[in-house]
Each structure stands twice: as structure tokens, then as C-alpha cells.
């Protein structure tokens, strides 16, 4: 599977990663290599195979609807890059 610059730009945007022209070129090559290796799975016939997302045979794990203490505002904001009062502050979001 070969991918091009357009593909890299598309997935870099999906990934919210900014790439320089040089990086785009590097990743086009590297990802193409990796994808052509990965592509070997397509040679297998998996027509009657169910996809497996979980390795353990278990289900129905729940918690009860019982409150637990939240953490202090100090801890909430301890690692925050920017705050304003009780809020987290971010660059303006335009909808």
C-alpha cells in the first residue's frame, strides 16, 4: 500500500499533528513501508472469522450509582497550562 502526501496531510490533520514539508516526505516513505508490510494480512481468508476486540471472555461489568467524592479544585487545576478562576482557559473556540 503506497500512500501519498495528500494522505499524510489528511491523517496528520485527523491526528492534530502539524508537519513540515520535510516531515511529510519522511512519513510518506516510512508509513508506506510499514503499510506494505502490514498489508500482508489481506492475503488471509477471514470470511468466517469473527473480529476479536477483547481477549477475555467476560461481560457486564458495572459500578453502582453511588456517589464518590470528586477531587479538590486545586488538584483539578494542578497541571493546567492556563486557568481563569475556576475554569480552564483555552484559545477562543469559534463554532
Amino acid at each position: 500500500m503506497k500512500i501519498g502526501k495528500k494522505d499524510i496531510e489528511y491523517i496528520a490533520n485527523l491526528s492534530r499533528i502539524e508537519l513540515s514539508e520535510h516531515e511529510k516526505e519522511m512519513f510518506v516513505h516510512q508509513l508506506s513501508d510499514i503499510l506494505s508490510y502490514i498489508g500482508k494480512i489481506s492475503e488471509l481468508n477471514t470470511e468466517n472469522v469473527t473480529p476479536m476486540a477483547y481477549t477475555i471472555k467476560a461481560s457486564n461489568v458495572f459500578k453502582e450509582d453511588i456517589p464518590e467524592p470528586s477531587i479538590s479544585l486545586e488538584d483539578v487545576q494542578l497541571n493546567a497550562p492556563d486557568i481563569k478562576g475556576v475554569f480552564f482557559k483555552v484559545p477562543k473556540v469559534i463554532e
Binding site: F62, K63, P67, E68, V86, F87, V93
Partner: protein
């Protein structure tokens, strides 16, 4: 050109749990920002979700109430998109195996029943809240994560609605079902019930659907209806000009009552759904399902039916009473105390509802208790007070919250049925109104009504009108 409007709705309802979907934080509304959060709902590194059983069961209830097919297997998926109020930048939702599919809801429009199909019902997590400062020049936004992780039910309809009446009925009916089944408090002003509409047009008689436009940011049912009308008009104008409607997402602006493009189909989100590895699947067996089924209270349609059959209420009365679950509950409670359904129903519809409307009261916070209304009706029936006095007592009840008996005692409003006492008053009234007697004898029948009025006035309305009429008739010699 004449067009048919095709509308589908996506509804989000916050579930009535006391804790969030994946952590133990409280879901209480209106508390100080960022105080109902923990590492889990803040999406801190290393945390994991654990599903709230109550929330899952509420969603199951909804799926049952909306006549969905519920498969044995369901699981959760991650839906990825970047937004600052979404802590993990993915939402835990359902995509490949929705909890309920292929359901329907019957709605009533101008007396006829329409069946609107439900595509799916699923469970997901709520996002936080983004606050934009008042000053337009401000270069920042603020985030509060208190709502992040609150359990959310999503109900997706098929595009089966054809006009705003149907849309309105759909919204109202759905709201009622969620309230009756005690799944959500459906407080639109608190954002716990929200709608998104998708609208397309098609030429009358044609079966070719036009491009679909999605409308977001609809903060009230009124906005939904206005936005649909606006969008139908906009699309028909585009088509009439010979243009094509772009497939896009638009944002409704409540102030200008217009919508504007948010993103086009080309910019459509690529959500990259895949199974949430941190949550295991849920298997729903028959036993569990029937227990949930049994836990669903009577839904609005059955409730109305019962009120008509058991209590002989008219279709109209039963409709009004069941419009709001609190009213229907109130009614049920009243008739349990006093078996006078018709009288109670009248008091609720004519008096209680008027008070609520006039004083703009919150329907969820009725100003009197069922017991109080039942006692009032009982007192009237016993003849302790007249219905005129009863109105006065009722309004006092609303104002003070006191019970009818207390008010009657305090204000000495007990009806006078002592014949001797009444006769004395009548004698006095007759002697001071000789003209009226004359008029009556000349054939003026309403002179008698005047005299009754005078007696009532003398007794401050407390005289038993039946006895007054009887004695007066005797006195004037009928």
C-alpha cells in the same frame, strides 16, 4: 413548485442517575464549575471507565418504551473528534451494536395516530461546557467539566416526519415517555433534553429525496419548529431558483432566527469509531430484560386510557391531566384519597392549572398537596362550605400552603346550615327590602335572586344556599 418536507430528529436526554456514567462524580446541576470532576471524567492519563449500571438500565428502559429490538449483545465504541470540552477527545458511545434498534413511537396529530420509526437508541457520555466571554474582543474561551461524563441517551428517528405539527407531537410525546418512565427529568432549560434536526425536501409526488441538512444548536422545542420552517423555506427557494441544496451542517441562531453553515459535507467529521477496549461487552438475557420491562411505570398512552376507562374522564380531560406526568401523578394520588374523580379533575384543570399558568409556576413544584385538594373536595361535598367559599379557600391554600381545614377554621368559613339562624337573617332581609317583595309579587322572578344575594351578603357567603332558597320560597309564599 410544491415540496414535501422530510424531517428526522436526533434527541439527547440526560439520564436521571445521581452519578456520572463512568465515575462516582455527582451529576447535580448548577454547582460551581469544575468541582464535580475527578481524574476519570477529566480524562487524566491512566484512568479507566466503569459503566454505571443504573444508566445502562435507564437506556434499556428507553429502548423498551420505544419498542426497539434489543439484541443479546451490545458494546461501546469510541467516537473520535477534537473539542476542548471533550476530555479524552473521544466520546464513549455506541455505533456498531446499538442497545436498541428498529423501534417506533406513535404520535397523535390532530386526532390521528402517526407511527414514527426509531432508528436506534444508544447510551453515551455527555461533554463539558464551553463558555464564551461576553466581550467579543476576548481571545479565549473557558471550560467547565462538571457535565463531562453525565450519562446521555441518544434517540435517532427515521426521517418520517412531514410537517412541524408532527415534529412538535414527536418531541412532546417523546418527552412524556421519558418523564413517565422516569428515565430523564427532561429539563430543557438545563439542557437535559436537546434536539437536532435533519431536513430535506422532495418534490410532491416524487420519491427522490433532496440533500439532507443537519441543524444544531436548537435550545427549545420552539427553536426546533422555527428552524425547520426557516430551513424548509430556504431549501425551497434554492430549488425554485434551480439550485441544489448543499449537504451540510448548519447552526441555528436563536436571536436572529436564522441558520448559518457550520461545516460542509466535504469537511464532514471522520469519527474513526472502534470498539472501546476499556469496557467489556454487555450481554442482555431474557431474565434481565423482563425485570426491566416490569420496572417501567405506566406510560402516557396507557395512563390516559386508564383515566378514561376507570375514572370515566372525557378524552379531553384525560388528555390534559396526562399531558404532564406530575399532574397525572397528582390526580392519581387525589383519587386514591377521595373517590371523586370528576370533581378532582375539574379542580385540577380549572383551578390548579390556571394558578400555575397565571403565576408562571414550575409544574414540577405544584403549590398544593394532593391530600389538601382531596380534603377540599370532600369538604365541599359534605356541604361544610359552599363552592363559592371553596374558591376563596383554594386561593388561600395556594398562597399560604395551609390546608383547607385550617383556613376554614381560621377564617370561620364554615357554611351556616342552622335553619333558625338563616330564617332570622331572611326575616331581616325581607323587612328591609319591601320593594323587592313587591316586585316579586308583580312577577319579577329575579327579585328572588336579589334577596338570596342579600342573605349571602349578610352571612358573608356562608349560608347554605340550598336552605336559603327553601326558607325564602316558603316566606314569600310560593
Amino acid at each position: 413548485m410544491e415540496y414535501e418536507v422530510i424531517v428526522g430528529l436526533e434527541t439527547h436526554a440526560e439520564l436521571a442517575t445521581i452519578t456520572k456514567l463512568f465515575c462516582g462524580c455527582s451529576t447535580k446541576f448548577g454547582v460551581e464549575p469544575n468541582t464535580q470532576v475527578c481524574p476519570v471524567c477529566l480524562g487524566m492519563p491512566g484512568v479507566l471507565p466503569v459503566m454505571n449500571k443504573k444508566a445502562f438500565e435507564y437506556a434499556l428502559k428507553a429502548a423498551i418504551a420505544l419498542n426497539c429490538r434489543i439484541d443479546e449483545f451490545t458494546n461501546f465504541d469510541r467516537k473520535s473528534y477534537y473539542y476542548p470540552d471533550l476530555p479524552k477527545n473521544y466520546q464513549i458511545s455506541q455505533n456498531y451494536y446499538n442497545l436498541g434498534v428498529d423501534g417506533y413511537m406513535d404520535i397523535s396529530v390532530n386526532g390521528t395516530i402517526r407511527r414514527i420509526r426509531i432508528h436506534n437508541v444508544h447510551l453515551e457520555e455527555e461533554a463539558g461546557k464551553l463558555i464564551h466571554p461576553e466581550e467579543i474582543s476576548a481571545d479565549y474561551s473557558l471550560v467547565d467539566f462538571n457535565r463531562a461524563g453525565v450519562p446521555l441517551l441518544e434517540i435517532v428517528s427515521y426521517p418520517d416526519m412531514r410537517n412541524v405539527d408532527e415534529v412538535e407531537s414527536y418531541m412532546q410525546t417523546l418527552r412524556k415517555i421519558l418523564l413517565y418512565a422516569e428515565i430523564s427529568d427532561c429539563k430543557m432549560q438545563e439542557g437535559s433534553l436537546r434536539f437536532e434536526a435533519s431536513i430535506s425536501l422532495r418534490k410532491k409526488g416524487s420519491d427522490k429525496l433532496g440533500n439532507r441538512v443537519e441543524i444544531k444548536n436548537l435550545n427549545s422545542m420552539k427553536s426546533v419548529l422555527k428552524a425547520i420552517e426557516y430551513e424548509a423555506k430556504r431549501q425551497s427557494e434554492v430549488l425554485d431558483r434551480g439550485g441544489t441544496v448543499d449537504r451540510e451542517t448548519r447552526l441555528w441562531d436563536e436571536v436572529s432566527e436564522k441558520s448559518a453553515r457550520m461545516r460542509s459535507k466535504e469537511e464532514a467529521q471522520d469519527y474513526r469509531y472502534f470498539p472501546e477496549p476499556d469496557l467489556l461487552p454487555v450481554l442482555i438475557n431474557e431474565k434481565w430484560l423482563s425485570a426491566i420491562k416490569a420496572s417501567i411505570p405506566e406510560l402516557p398512552r396507557e395512563r390516559k386510557q386508564r383515566f378514561m376507562e376507570v375514572f370515566k374522564l372525557s378524552d379531553y380531560d384525560a388528555g390534559v391531566i396526562t399531558e404532564e406526568k406530575v399532574l397525572a401523578d397528582f390526580f392519581d394520588e387525589c383519587v386514591k384519597i377521595l373517590d371523586r374523580p370528576k370533581a378532582i379533575c375539574n379542580w385540577i384543570i380549572n383551578d390548579l392549572l390556571r394558578e400555575v399558568k397565571d403565576k408562571k409556576l414550575d409544574i414540577n413544584n405544584l403549590p398544593i398537596k394532593a391530600k389538601q385538594l382531596a380534603v377540599l373536595v370532600e369538604i365541599i361535598e359534605k356541604g361544610t362550605i359552599s363552592s363559592t367559599i371553596a374558591k376563596e379557600v383554594f386561593s388561600e391554600m395556594i398562597q399560604t400552603g395551609k390546608g383547607p381545614q385550617t383556613i376554614i377554621e381560621e377564617k370561620k368559613l364554615v357554611q351556616i346550615s342552622d335553619e333558625g339562624l338563616i330564617e332570622a337573617v331572611i326575616t331581616k332581609v325581607i323587612s328591609s327590602n319591601p320593594d323587592a317583595i313587591e316586585d316579586y309579587k308583580k312577577g319579577k322572578k329575579n327579585a328572588l335572586t336579589f334577596l338570596v344575594g342579600q342573605v349571602m351578603k349578610e352571612t358573608k357567603g356562608k349560608a347554605n344556599p340550598k336552605i336559603v332558597n327553601e326558607i325564602l320560597a316558603k316566606k314569600v309564599g310560593i
